[in-house]
Amino acid sequence: MTSLADATPITGRELRKLTRQATEAHGGGAVGELFEEVYTFVFSLLVAAAMAFGATQLLNTKLRPADAEAVLDPAWLGIAIAVVAVGSAVSLAARLGPIGLGGGEAAWLLPTPADRRGLLHPRLRIVTIVSAAVGAGIGVLAAALAGASGSGLGLGAGVGATLGLATVLAVARTQVGRSGRAAHPAVALGEGLVVLAPLLALAVVLLRPPAPSAPPSVVALALVAVLLVTSVLLLISTERHLDGISGAQIRARGAVTAYAAGAVTSLDTRELGRALSITSQPDSRRRSRGFGWVRGPLTALVSGDALVTLRSRRHVIAVVVWGLVPIVVTLAGWASWTTLVALLVAGYATALACAEGARRAEMAPVLDRAFPVAAEHVRRIRLIWPGFVLVIWSMVTVGVWAALTGLDVGEWLPLAAVAAPTFAAGAIRGAYRKAADWSKPLVANPMGPPIPPGLFGMVAKGPDIVVICLVPLILGVVAVASPVTLLPWQLAATLLAIAIGTHVPDPKGPFAQAMGNQSGNRS
């Protein structure tokens, strides 16, 4: 029998090698399959890059000021996007860890005597590669919007890659070897930068500074060199302190990362939002509200929904930022279609932020069943809070747009108020949509990896009624038709959107029976 003293502990590196070999031995994948995987990934990446580049070029052409009226040069837009990207990277890295082990790896590898440093190396490598790659993509986008080409795009990629690398590694460094409490300030810093971006854009359109010119190549190269040296130093320091992360922190961060990765894979924004909320929530509040104003299920549900939004910094920021976007776009003096796109996207995003209560209830239907309200009424009640916020939001944004374009604000405000609940109805419909069924045979497609049947239908559920039922408002904004004429049409369309968005399928109905009761007993 071998005594404990005789045993040589396995290193993390050896353990990873063993598990990798075991995985490969049981994987059964042939070289052809590996080639197919690599081919699919590379092809998808190229298609996505081509689409992004094409969109950037289009934006650059369409948004570049052709006359004195356009006041937000795409170069400023590129800077705003870069600020949002850095803020998002800081916030995301802080929320995700970014170094951890989830699921089976945490359960089976962490209890072993293997060194943590060796176990966590691959995660650090992935974080490094992904942050540099995403940073490079954003850098190219910003450079393209600034009108760069050729070597300019290359420099943009270089600055973006090293900036992304330095940013994420700086966050990673604050979270190794310590209690991990540094997540909260980093999340706040990232969210602050995200808020700063539209404020910067707003300042630009109001103050009208000249468009920034690209820095000389020497300056850009020097910046890349500084950021690269900083990144390398941070990488070395982070790597040396990997052993200092506690098992609990590794597990917690790994669980959040796995949760978020699963949500991204299944294109489920609801799950992604929940995953990203985990690390930024406080542990307690100084005092509890008495809810003296609550007098039954209706006020209870609305109060719950309102508090879920108002007590979440991420959601409040979303409402503020998305509220500023259409105003900035309007002030920028771009074509009316950009205002329209900004209005639709920002309105829906604001509604999503306010419909978090419904999104939570979809995950835990008991939240809908907790009060004495019949199932068919719950979703209508859950529409009230996002509807209320969107009425104010729409009146402000449409009012500003009407005022800046010289239209009669008094005529447009009623149309905006009547159209607003459509956004909320879309968000409620999206909140309760059925997740894609990953157990069914996947459908091959030429654009990338196979997808489950009904995936696109699932993603479109919610935005679909926003676009369709806002046609009267859309016609008004694009064609500048009379809002008074459009008002009754918009009212009818809004009522239709509410009916569709708050509809609760009857699990005993003929359609649900035919679908094998898949719609379930939700709410």
Partner: protein, 233 residues
Amino acid sequence: MSDKRDLLVRATALLVGYGSTPESAVCPPIKVSLGRGEALAVVGANGTGKSTFLRAAAGLLEPLGGHVDVLGEPVDERSLRFRAEVAVVLDEDSYLPALTVREHLLLTARGHGMTQVSDLVTEVVEEFGLAPRQQALPTALSSGQRRRLLLASAFVRPRTLMLLDEPEQRLDAGMRDRLAERLVAERTGGGGVILATHDPVLVRTVATKALLIGEDQVRVVKPEQAAAAIEAL
């Protein structure tokens, strides 16, 4: 025999399971009833169908055969009456992330139309050992504390019937005793309780009868027999 108005739950030839045909039932047909002032313990080994029966009784699972009536009507958890009168605590970890422990209970009570709830909530919070954590958000609670919060939320609202799935889970011994006292009070106060459980003490203390689910047969037995069956498992 119970008057029809006093009959809270009645299952007749009830087949439960997660398939679509009677063949996929997880246990033999169930025949059982529960009246006011009664507590039914649902007992059996793991995987015999205790929770599945409870989900069917809560209207969350369509029966594969037979019927289950709750409050004198075919079970419909979507109805206003069901939601107003039946408190259900299954193994679901559900809460609003922005609300404190105390706020969850206050909102639940007020949402059910109750007024002057502060003292009731304080009492329940203390009884369920949540007083030191009443300003905490659910994400900062341990799994046992979250379980207590869910159970506490069932006791701050009006109800005629309680459906509880293994309420003893993740509770310490002291908390189990207090829960048993609460459930006995519930029963003696004229309410009905159905609880799926693995705890023989809870069965002996709370239940007035038990549903013993086995692979070959389902029997209504005395609590003592059910408790002994649990101990023999």
